[in-house]
């Protein structure tokens, strides 16, 4: 797919821009360049809907002069544009305030070898469009063969091949190439005005690990039809079991609350809680940027800090906030290799697996809700409050009895963390944020009638 990767040129360009920035008067400068190639196809009802094939590059720069910071980004990589942006950034930095916490990290003696992380699959750039289109068509065809499925949102195959380069005035120069591919399908079922929908997907750094069309289609069908003919339920407090994708959503919200940036801005309810017991003994949460072949893995972050494994919550105790260099300095902590420009982002951020199988967890529930989908936002990191539209399966005497919809689930992350009664053994790395099935002792379900 890619017409030969001139990665050396990008490294050369990044290093040259660092020198240029220094010559313009920057005390410190960091230049990142991304070069990506994407292929995507959407098919629907057996025909191609759209086909995209494209390559693009982008550059980002941070300059610091007199402890004052300015940023610039560009997708126009013409030399004239890049040099103008860097000159402007140096000039503009003077209008910012002096900030003793500003600055690049010092160069780490640790280097992570990108090769060992196995992020690049040479098979992905070689895939031909016909194969890719065929995978999407096959997935949808298998799904639509099930008579209960009445319409399709389409199936997609995506492939991405990207090179990231970073050069910094602290002496860091690094690069890595990472591939990703995914196969997905979205389905609708039901009749009249009673429609239900769901989807399934597989996404991997290596093509060989992608779930086959058959598996993606069958799972999407099962997830869709299990919601048919939902009932409404009364407003009540009951145990709630989160399926792995739902736990991932909760773990993603937790990430927003252990972000060092949110903590120094006091926009997290977990600010000031380091060392406290914030969850049950069965809760351990890890951020690991070093897991080979995983979607959230990389050798270094956007500041060139080497990736690492960080235990964020250990048996219920809050051990670490995830920091970039700035947040680390503000909080007098150390950086954890999670920098993503000004923000922090997760590497592989997950709730460690427990001992119980998902079926045991469901069996343990006398009456409750198996949460299968949510709708809407309703997450507030400042308070930890959660309130979301929900779809689920109602459980009675340890058995799934019928689907429910048009309800909301509400709670508070701080309380939920202390109330997770069971943690499943079914942890899968389907994205960079994940978790297994969990059972929460009690949450508020709003449905018919009021309390």
């Amino acid at each position: 797919m890619r017409p030969g990767g001139p990665e050396d040129d990008l490294v050369w360009l990044a290093e040259r821009l660092v020198k240029f920035g220094k010559s313009c008067g920057a005390d410190e400068i960091e230049v990142g360049i991304g070069d990506g190639y994407e292929f995507s196809v959407n098919v629907r009802l057996g025909e191609i809907e759209d086909l995209v094939e494209a390559g693009s590059r982008a550059m980002g720069v941070r300059v610091i002069k007199d402890k004052k910071t300015a940023f610039a980004t560009s997708s126009d990589l013409a030399q004239e544009t890049l040099e103008r942006l860097i000159r402007n950034a140096v000039r503009r930095s003077e209008l910012a305030s002096r900030d003793e916490f500003a600055g690049l990290p010092s160069l780490s003696p640790v280097r992570v070898d990108p090769e060992g992380l196995r992020l690049f699959d040479p098979e992905i750039p070689e895939l031909d469009s016909k194969t890719n289109i065929g995978l999407a068509l096959e997935t949808e065809r298998i799904a639509l063969a099930d008579k209960r499925i009445t319409n399709s949102f389409g199936a997609s195959f995506l492939a991405h091949d990207g090179t990231s380069v970073l050069a910094s005035s602290n002496g860091f120069v690094g690069r890595y190439r990472k591939t990703q591919c995914s196969l997905s399908v979205g389905l609708q079922a039901g009749d009249g005005d009673d429609l239900v929908e769901d989807f399934w997907f597989s996404t991997e750094t290596h093509f060989k690990d992608l779930e086959p069309p058959e598996a993606v289609a069958r799972k999407a069908v099962a997830r869709t039809v299990r919601q048919l003919r939902p009932r409404k339920i009364k407003t009540q407090r009951v145990p709630v079991i989160f399926e792995p994708l739902m736990t991932s959503g909760l773990v993603g919200f937790l990430f927003a609350c252990v972000s060092g940036v949110a903590v120094y801005q006091k926009s997290s309810f977990l600010a000031g809680r380091l060392g406290d017991k914030i969850a049950g003994e069965n809760i351990t949460v890890i951020d690991d940027g070093l897991m080979p072949e995983k979607l959230g893995t990389s050798p270094f972050d956007s500041e060139g800090v080497p990736s690492q494994r960080t235990t964020v919550i250990e048996k219920g105790i809050l051990k670490k906030y995830l920091c970039n260099t700035y947040a680390a300095r503000k909080l007098n902590l150390s950086t954890t290799g999670n920098a993503d420009g000004n923000a922090v982002s997760p590497n592989n951020f997950y709730l460690a697996r427990g001992a119980d199988s998902p079926s045991e967890i469901i069996r343990s529930c006398e009456k409750g809700l198996l949460l299968i989908r949510t709708l809407g936002h309703g997450l507030n990191p400042v308070t930890g409050d959660i309130s979301r539209g929900a779809f689920g399966l109602w459980i009675e005497k340890g058995e799934i009895v019928y689907p429910v919809s048009e309800i909301t689930v509400s709670g508070n992350l701080g309380e939920i963390l202390g109330n997770i009664e069971m943690v499943g053994s079914d942890l899968e790395f389907r994205g960079s944020i994940c978790g297994p099935t969990i059972k929460v002792r009690e949450m508020m379900i709003a449905g018919e009638g009021s309390t």
């Binding site: 209008l95 979301r388 909301t408 009021s450």
Partner: protein, 480 residues
């Protein structure tokens, strides 16, 4: 350098040496495999950002986004390629990627000669363009919002204030001979307040702007008003109790509650969901879906609004579009692909996030028209219920199930707003809610000019509006 706003068609020729003749050549390449329609979308956008937090101007940022997207339509299929390198070989490669959707050996159509089309009256209201204003002037606006927020009360502990602006130059040329350009300004000043009291922590948000110049922040909405409003919300939430849980009458605040119309109705009247028959509205065109009090428009031509544009991202002149007339579906939001396949008129709602995206039907400025009830009378009519005041956004699925998140509200007791309540998600089914609208107020208001709508991974600026509305029963998802 020519002023791009004064003469947009010359912009890409001046800056990138891409003449109308070159564009015609690109279209020819794009049609070389037998596609019926080809289009190029050239974009050059600059963006700037100023952030104040921790009492300092922490950073400034500048961005440049440049690129060309090429689309080919063959039947119901779309081929698409893009590049941010405008050199002739890269552009040709993108055109061939798009062309590949059609698989004939020779062209079935040739592009028509390009005829530059002027725009009608502009819907942008700019005296002092933000993108070219001196940075120190913009910094002073950010500081003014920050200080007003910080000074609003002792419970305000952290403040974040920011100004974002952009200018988006675009030129669209297609194989039907269309050649049109636009330069769209957009500015937003926003403030976040974090309040603390007795171990509790809350946040408040406020902002404004639109397709306006910096004079907006002295004439229409001052930075001080934005700062104080963020502080007000953060402070009131410290006194708020948990929202109730369950079904109850709900009154929606004017303006801010427009997000409900956006989610519950707007998305499912986007033509693509109806063409594909996944929308619950797909078989209800011309039919009654709600009470006669409900009339809904989408109007991309409201001057100065965030969601407005002089031309849509396919080169169509936008039109105020009646979607629901007294409870009956009468219109859809169209782009070229769906309008062509459905044999319906274009409405000018084909939008894309940027050059690397395929245009799809989108909302612009969506609102429910004013009714006849008095606001006070509406609140007085509720014995026990929930007043939804400020919002964080929502989501809808094609079945019509939708949610929207309330960041702050009040209990209604015996016809009066009483205790403030915090965060709750409301859920409903659109066909159900449209029939449970009991009263529509006469006080049509538009929400703050800060909204962004996401669909299929593409974000575009939008505005929505509504008068005070009473819904007889809806599920409120508080902690109880």
């Amino acid at each position: 350098m020519t002023d791009p706003i004064a003469s947009p068609p010359a912009f890409f020729e001046d800056h990138f040496r891409l003449s109308a003749k070159d564009l015609l050549g690109i279209l020819e390449t794009a049609l070389s495999s037998g596609g019926e329609f080809a289009e190029t979308y050239l974009e050059y956008r600059t963006y700037s950002y100023i952030l104040m937090e921790e009492d300092i101007i922490r950073e400034t940022a500048e961005s440049v986004s440049l690129g060309l997207g090429i689309r080919v339509i063959s039947g119901e299929k779309t081929g698409f390629g893009y590049t941010n390198d405008l050199s002739p070989d890269k552009v040709r490669r993108a055109a061939l990627s798009a062309a590949a959707i059609a698989s004939k050996d020779e062209p079935a159509a040739r592009p028509s000669a390009l005829a530059p089309r002027g725009l009608g009256p502009s819907y942008y209201r700019v005296n002092e363009a933000s993108h070219s204003a001196p940075l120190d002037k913009k910094i002073s606006l950010v500081k003014a919002a920050y200080l007003a927020c910080q000074g609003a009360g002792p419970e305000v502990k952290k403040v974040k204030a920011s100004l974002q602006d952009q200018i988006q130059h675009l030129t669209i040329a297609n194989s039907e001979g269309l050649l049109v350009s636009d330069s769209r300004p957009l500015v937003k000043l926003a403030c976040v307040a974090i309040s603390e009291k007795a171990g509790l922590r809350e946040s408040g948000y406020a902002g404004g702007g639109g397709r306006v110049g910096l004079e907006f922040f002295s004439a229409q909405l001052t930075p001080e008003e934005i700062g104080r409003e963020a502080a007000r919300e953060a402070a009131i939430l410290l006194e708020a109790r948990d929202a109730p849980a369950g079904e109850m009458p709900v009154v929606l605040s004017p303006g801010h509650a427009g997000v409900l119309i956006h989610e519950a109705v707007g998305h499912l009247l986007e033509a693509d969901f109806n063409r594909k028959k996944t929308s619950v509205f797909a078989d209800k065109f011309g039919k009654k879906v709600g009470v006669p009090q409900i009339t809904i428009y989408d109007d991309p031509t409201i001057p100065a609004f965030r969601g407005s544009y002089n031309v849509d991202d396919e080169g169509t002149a936008p039109r105020k579009t009646l979607l629901i007339d007294k409870g009956v579906i009468v219109g859809l939001l169209q782009d070229r692909l769906s309008a062509g396949l459905m044999k319906m008129p274009l409405t000018g709602h084909g939008r894309r996030q940027d050059f690397s995206d395929i245009p799809i039907p989108r909302m612009a400025n969506t609102y429910i028209d004013k009714g006849e009830y008095d606001r006070e009378e509406i609140i007085r009519s509720v014995k026990k219920g929930f007043y939804a005041d400020r919002f964080q956004g929502g989501q809808v699925e094609d079945s019509g199930k939708f949610t929207f998140s309330v960041s702050s509200g009040f209990l209604i007791e015996d016809g009066k707003l009483t205790t403030p309540v915090k965060q709750a998600t409301l859920i409903g089914s659109n066909l159900d809610i449209l029939n449970k609208v009991e009263r529509v107020g006469g006080d049509l208001t538009f929400g703050p000019q800060t909204g962004t709508c996401g669909k299929e991974g593409q974000e575009v600026p939008v505005t929505d509006g509504c008068p005070t509305i009473k819904i007889s029963k809806m599920t409120v998802g508080g902690k109880g």
